[in-house]
Symmetry: C2
Subunit: 508 residues, 2 copies
Amino acid sequence: MNLHDLPSSFDQYQDRIRHPLLRQRITSAAAAAALIKDGMTVGMSGFTRAGDAKAVPLALAEQARRAPLKITLMTGASLGGEVDRVLTEAGALARRMPFQTDPTLRAAINRGEVMFIDQHLSEPVEHLRAGQIAPIDIAVIEAVAITDSGAIVPTTSVGNNASFAILADKVIVEINLAHSLALEGLHDIFIPKRRPQREPMPLMTARDRIGTSAIMIPPEKIAAIVITDQRDSCSTVLEPDADTAAIAAHLVAFFEREVAAGRLGENLLPLQAGIGNIANAVMCGFIDSPFQHLTMYSEVLQDSTFDLFDAGKLDFASGSSITLSSRRSEQVLGDIGRYKDRLVLRPQEVSNHPELVRRLGIIAINTALEADIYGNVNSTHVGGTHMMNGIGGSGDFARNASLAVFATKSVAKGGKVSSIVPMVSHVDHNEHDVDIIVTEIGLADLRGLAPRERAPVIIEHCVAEPYRQMLRDYVAAANQRGGHTPHLLEHAFDWHVRYAATGSMLPE
Amino acid sequence: MNLHDLPSSFDQYQDRIRHPLLRQRITSAAAAAALIKDGMTVGMSGFTRAGDAKAVPLALAEQARRAPLKITLMTGASLGGEVDRVLTEAGALARRMPFQTDPTLRAAINRGEVMFIDQHLSEPVEHLRAGQIAPIDIAVIEAVAITDSGAIVPTTSVGNNASFAILADKVIVEINLAHSLALEGLHDIFIPKRRPQREPMPLMTARDRIGTSAIMIPPEKIAAIVITDQRDSCSTVLEPDADTAAIAAHLVAFFEREVAAGRLGENLLPLQAGIGNIANAVMCGFIDSPFQHLTMYSEVLQDSTFDLFDAGKLDFASGSSITLSSRRSEQVLGDIGRYKDRLVLRPQEVSNHPELVRRLGIIAINTALEADIYGNVNSTHVGGTHMMNGIGGSGDFARNASLAVFATKSVAKGGKVSSIVPMVSHVDHNEHDVDIIVTEIGLADLRGLAPRERAPVIIEHCVAEPYRQMLRDYVAAANQRGGHTPHLLEHAFDWHVRYAATGSMLPE
């Protein structure tokens, strides 16, 4: 739908824009984007491809191609479509936070052209609220509707939308007709007060609703409304393969042992799963498990959430976004009423909040890029230097979870890279925050173990040959030097250096 | 006081042991220690030398010298006197958690003889409650008194005492006559419920009292009571020197700028300070600052807390222990009534709880062993391998603080070691959790900066020559390779390797 030249009244949108005066603010994406000036900080909706602003960012890129313009772009998490690529190519991004997954933007970050501030996803709005980063000038928020009081009803994600809208001077709303009005009522908007006036967050189970169903801001802050009609980008999540299914099976067997030992009930504790194929496969592994009445308190709800609903395994899911594959998207979002009373979408500050993660005792399942023999995890930096996506919510969850699981295939690049190395080349999660490491080979339970005990458990349970023997040799040599956490610092990164030089961690 | 042969009734202790039947349980330290058997997990009181059990652990060491006996010893944090040394020398320690500072024990840990599980101090009892580590068999708790209902009144620390007593099968109480009964009423014992039944912690300011003044357990669990009469070991904290005073001055100037910018009020936010000379000096720096009505929400209350009270700067201090130098000990503890209405001691799970640290917006000031050019901090491992003390509470605070400050002198070992290195040899706190690095040279404000921006700020503000130029050269070379966080992995630890080989990080 191209709406570049619109009449001044838009009665056909009265179900979507119920505040009558606000219907006067409908304009084109280009006119809305023109509100964004060089040097501004812009907060856009969008969390793991879901609920992202779709028209204004592309119009902004167009504008930047005509006259140089650089902004700081904050979002919830990753955007869909080509927004980050197009903005990068237009040279419009000076700074970007807190997460991204776009190959073009990633390359610009790694060339040092875009300053990327990788943040725990619960924290960006905390930094904004405290004035510790530049304030939001304009928010661009995708919405299903604007209520008669001017409140904004988000679409398939909440992310940082509410705080962006509250903290911004001006708000641009994209009303996306491709999202069903049935999404209304799905959201629960709760914003912690600025410190030191903050109160406890009154949430005690994944299903508790503690806020409002829409984002309440003074309607006069809504400076422009743009009508769009485009679905979210679909996730590229793959069906489980033999390796990810094996990872899932190891975890299910582990949880069965925990239940048998009386440490968990058969409904476990609320589950969080990171984005991607491995976490999705792990969640799918619960379909054929003996566990019942599961709940999720997570950030992204992927295909597996709805597979678990359909299998009768999952009672309730709380998240900050719904991100589905093309297989699942139409089926779920086209019939959301079927799931709506078992779902809630929250601000990422709430879905990921340390207070709640600790209180609920979440079981956090996230993906490691690499892990080391002592249980430190690198989630972000290829070769210790090049940013992949960002830490995302993994730190919010792993630090405060009752059980922090990190999953990875034991090797990558056809066996030329071992995911378990002597020392990780970048630390996102250290040994204190990693309880379980699982690969397709097996599972290492690190709880209560000292570093010298962790190493053999990880090596013998999680590592493929020939890396297993190579790590045994490393540990034997390092132990000769002594220490609580023995290492040979001059050889700790030999595998990474060899890979950079030869394309393989294996000796030639 | 040696009480090896006691009568069966002890009316002289009725002010200290008010539950009449419990007075029958008074026995010798040796008899109490005999309750501890080989293989047991023992939870002892003691947090940064304060309120530690003093007689039973020494009797236990004696017992271990007669017949082999190995235990898992859990405490709050470090113990005073020679307890860890004597137990180590007696071969009585198989496992030790969550923190220690004893040179003999440290050496045994680094030889791999004692398995040390270094933990965030808010977490050990969470792991116990969830059954994730071996349960406590016996707790040994120092007390001022036992109430008429059998509740235990702790002394100068709370630490993990309450949960140890609640979770143990049996409890040994050491009534220490050297502690004044005036300590009664100082403590606030609140224990979170086991998950998933947990409720919000109803604490909104440092001064809130949310629990009971003593540890409530069934009196029949008290299996033995030992009478002692020995003061806590004094801290060895030093008066500020030129370097630590300079660090304090940089921080005070920074906070003045924050107040001027409207980001903080003149009472700042609740302050946490780690243990040791640097943190103590920083807190002393507030005495001559313009700030008023400060509060502390910390773990250890050191000399500086009472200096700030006496200077009229500090309104209230919450901690888990009071650890004083010989200069201050008698003066403060001998006249605790003077401070009592401005003090509270809490379980370390409460003093360090992520939920509360985040809610209160704590300003966390901790000490780095080394930091790197991107703001990662090593708090624990000398040369990346050898444990110094443990992570303590620094992770609980830094992760969730509104401002996470790490302080260190720019060099150590007479300039042969730089505290700022290309890459830290062990990561306790990564770039996400480090807002400010301060040395005697200056202060680096890292908020909102990407790694490539952090490096020059740290190098130019915090590093002494010739290391400053050496780091500039490293960054220039690393930037040629590209990446979000540029490094030369094959040279990242050159300085550490050189120090190990030559005794200096400087090239020969």
